[in-house]
């Protein structure tokens, strides 16, 4: 009930973010239901239906990613001194955020079910008798357990993921370590600190306002990211040479590449995601490099500090954008007729990743609110702060735009032949 009340009393912008999560969940749920409908309409060849279900994984993953980002930004689940004093500490707040996430995603799933039933004509009212009945299977009764199972997938995954992302850590009493019997010190203290998760930007005692958090070490994913990226491109090129295996074709009359190409592309995306925080950090370092003035100094150092938070979603956006660019290049001549479901899925993935990036930016802004207030008290002109933010954005665009374009070109090269 507390989660409900907290959810009800939130700021309109926070509600908007939750509504966006609900919408994403609704879209994913609808896609899953359509996969179910296709399976009901075509009971014999099960391969196609399984393939459709598999393709639903991408929007589902994007939705869960977005839901976790929103849960982390949620002001209702931030540690608050007053609430912690009455026993509503990080543990309970984790539960509350999981419930809030479950609430918004379940709302979306219900909406998806309603729309699906409405389109099938199960509900009283105008039914939709268009040409798209192939995936609605309106002449079959809907198996309710299957539908509910599919619809519960996203809420369950999202709430578990947000609970895991927000689990309290690091503040407990020092536990005896397994290897510590002989008094050896823990092996890599710096590394455990580096992995301290979403609230790692906050100090070990998040309620102590006096102690600023030590900065996280620079993200070091650049070598791994580059290696995986190169491997992905190589796999893609190799797989496209052997023109065989009509594998994971995207349904909805969208002729896709063979499984190897898709695997290679997935590796490429993984590499981009791994390398993005390090590249962001590098951007910050370059920005404040040689005799910086105040704008470059603020922009660069802040970018370095926020590299982990901003870099990961930025990498995802770049991966999605490069995928979209590659698809657009490959199919530009053929004028493919995207099915409505493929369009919905692509829109979901693109929208969720973009929204996740924006949410991460909002989170970074909130984390720096104290410092910004102190700067304003000093009389820092808002134009300085704004131009620092613009400079950061520009530097990121200048670094990641060409990178995305290059990766997309390279990825599209073997496909275009």
């Amino acid at each position: 009930m507390l989660a409900l009340r907290l959810a009800r009393g939130a700021h309109p912008l926070v509600q908007l973010r939750r509504l966006l999560v609900a919408a994403a969940s609704a879209g994913t749920g609808f896609l899953l239901l359509c996969a179910l409908g296709y399976a009901m309409a075509h009971p014999d060849p099960s391969g196609g239906a399984a393939l459709r279900l598999l393709w639903c994984l991408a929007p589902a993953a994007a939705t869960v990613h977005f839901a976790v980002a929103v849960a982390r930004t949620d002001p209702g689940t931030r540690p608050r001194p007053g609430l912690s004093a009455i026993g509503l500490g990080p543990g309970r707040l984790m539960a509350i955020s999981a419930v809030t996430t479950a609430l918004s995603t379940t709302l979306g799933s219900m909406l998806a079910l309603l729309v699906f039933l409405h389109l099938r004509g199960d509900l009283p009212g105008v039914s939709f008798d268009g040409h798209a009945t192939a995936f609605l299977a309106s002449d079959h009764p809907l198996p309710l357990p299957a539908a509910v199972t599919l619809l519960l997938l996203v809420p369950l995954a999202a709430s578990v993921a947000s609970a895991v992302a927000l689990r309290p850590r690091g503040a407990g009493p020092a536990r005896p370590r397994r290897t510590g019997a002989d008094g050896t010190s823990p092996r890599k203290p710096a590394r455990t600190r580096a992995k301290a998760g979403p609230h790692a930007d906050q100090p070990e005692h998040p309620l102590d306002p006096q102690q600023p958090a030590p900065p996280l070490p620079a993200p070091g994913g650049l070598p791994w990211g580059t290696a995986v990226l190169a491997a992905g491109l190589a796999v893609e090129a190799y797989a496209s040479r052997s023109e065989a295996a009509p594998g994971l074709a995207l349904p909805g009359r969208f002729a896709g590449g063979p499984a190897g190409v898709l695997g290679g592309w997935a590796l490429t995306a993984l590499g981009l995601i791994l390398a993005a925080p390090a590249i962001t950090h590098l951007c910050g370092q370059l920005l404040q490099a040689v005799r910086p003035g105040v704008v470059r100094l603020l922009a660069g150092r802040v970018l370095q500090g926020e590299a982990r938070r901003i870099g990961r979603p930025l990498g995802v956006v770049c991966a999605v954008a490069s995928g979209a660019y590659a698809m657009a290049t490959v199919y530009s001549g053929a004028r493919p007729s995207f099915g409505p479901l493929s369009t919905l899925g692509a829109l979901l993935v693109a929208g969720c990743t973009l929204a996740t990036l924006l949410t991460a930016a909002v989170e970074a802004k909130h984390a720096r609110a104290d410092t910004t207030a102190a700067l304003l008290r000093l009389g820092a002109p808002t134009t300085v702060l704004r131009s620092a933010a613009l400079l950061r954005t520009g530097a990121l665009l200048a670094a990641f735009g060409p990178l995305t374009w290059a990766v997309a070109e390279l990825a599209a090269l073997p496909l275009a032949r």
């Binding site: 006096q210 600023p212 958090a213 105040v294 100094l297 150092r301 410092t371 102190a374 000093l378 009389g379």
Partner: protein, 245 residues
């Protein structure tokens, strides 16, 4: 509208401030002479911080006037007040809010750089002040690596570096231990006197106020001559509830 006296650098008349309806200042007037160190005393919740915010142009009073060097602060727009804060005023918070991404000298040089001063000159001035406040050895450390007292000294250096006309210090020694407290205060007042900086110092303990030239006491948002609180006698109701229950 009456022009303020000439020897007052900062002058406030009948300030009334309410925070969302709850009264914070009720008709406070005071004048601050050039080069003096003025302590604003009073217990917690008596409106010291609000008064300092009004005087430094961070907060507009709902009624009343604030004049700085014969310029009305209460009628200035936000941009003018921002420039006034940047060019004329210094501010020290209760807790040292430094920019965590910048190291100590960059933090101290920040106001000068915000004023458009060159990087080299700003660095020289910042290092000089850090040295004067006995923290020259940690000029290259980030705030997280500093002790609380060192951080507060960096904040003081940041306020002193641009040589402000008026320095506002809102309980600058509250989070420190007593030894650090005395040292920090002494360095602050010595620096202010040697450079002719006017200081408005909010404090709730009498020892700190003893370092000032003059003390203005506030109680419940009003200016009082002396703070007479009832003596903290025996705990109330203790005798009645002792053994007889």
């Amino acid at each position: 509208m009456v022009a303020p006296p000439d020897n007052d650098v900062l002058w406030a008349r009948a300030l009334h401030v309410k925070h969302n309806g709850s009264p914070a200042l009720c008709g406070v007037s005071l004048g601050i002479r050039e080069g003096e160190i003025l302590a604003v005393g009073g217990p917690r919740g008596s409106g010291k911080t609000t008064l300092l915010q009004c005087l430094s142009g961070q907060l507009l009073p709902q009624q009343g006037e604030v004049w700085f060097n014969s310029a009305p602060v209460h009628t200035m727009g936000p941009l003018t007040r921002e420039r006034l804060r940047r060019d004329r005023f210094g501010w020290i918070d209760t807790a040292p809010v430094l920019v965590p991404e910048l190291n100590a000298w960059e933090n101290a040089a920040l106001p000068l750089m915000l004023r458009g001063c060159g990087r080299r000159a700003a660095k020289t001035a910042a290092l000089e002040w850090l040295e004067r406040l006995d923290i020259g050895h940690c000029a290259r450390k980030r705030p997280h690596a500093l002790l609380q007292a060192e951080r507060q000294r960096v904040a003081i250096a940041r306020a002193l570096v641009p040589a402000p006309k008026v320095l506002f210090a809102d309980e600058p020694t509250a989070p420190l231990h007593r030894a650090d407290r005395a040292h920090v205060l002494r360095t602050l007042t010595a620096a202010a006197r040697s450079h002719g900086i006017t200081v408005v110092l909010a404090t709730h303990d009498a020892d700190t106020a003893a370092l000032a030239d003059r003390t203005v006491s506030l109680l419940d948002g009003r200016r009082v001559n002396t703070v007479h609180l009832p003596p903290a006698a025996e705990a109330e109701g203790r005798a009645a509830c002792s053994l007889s229950v």
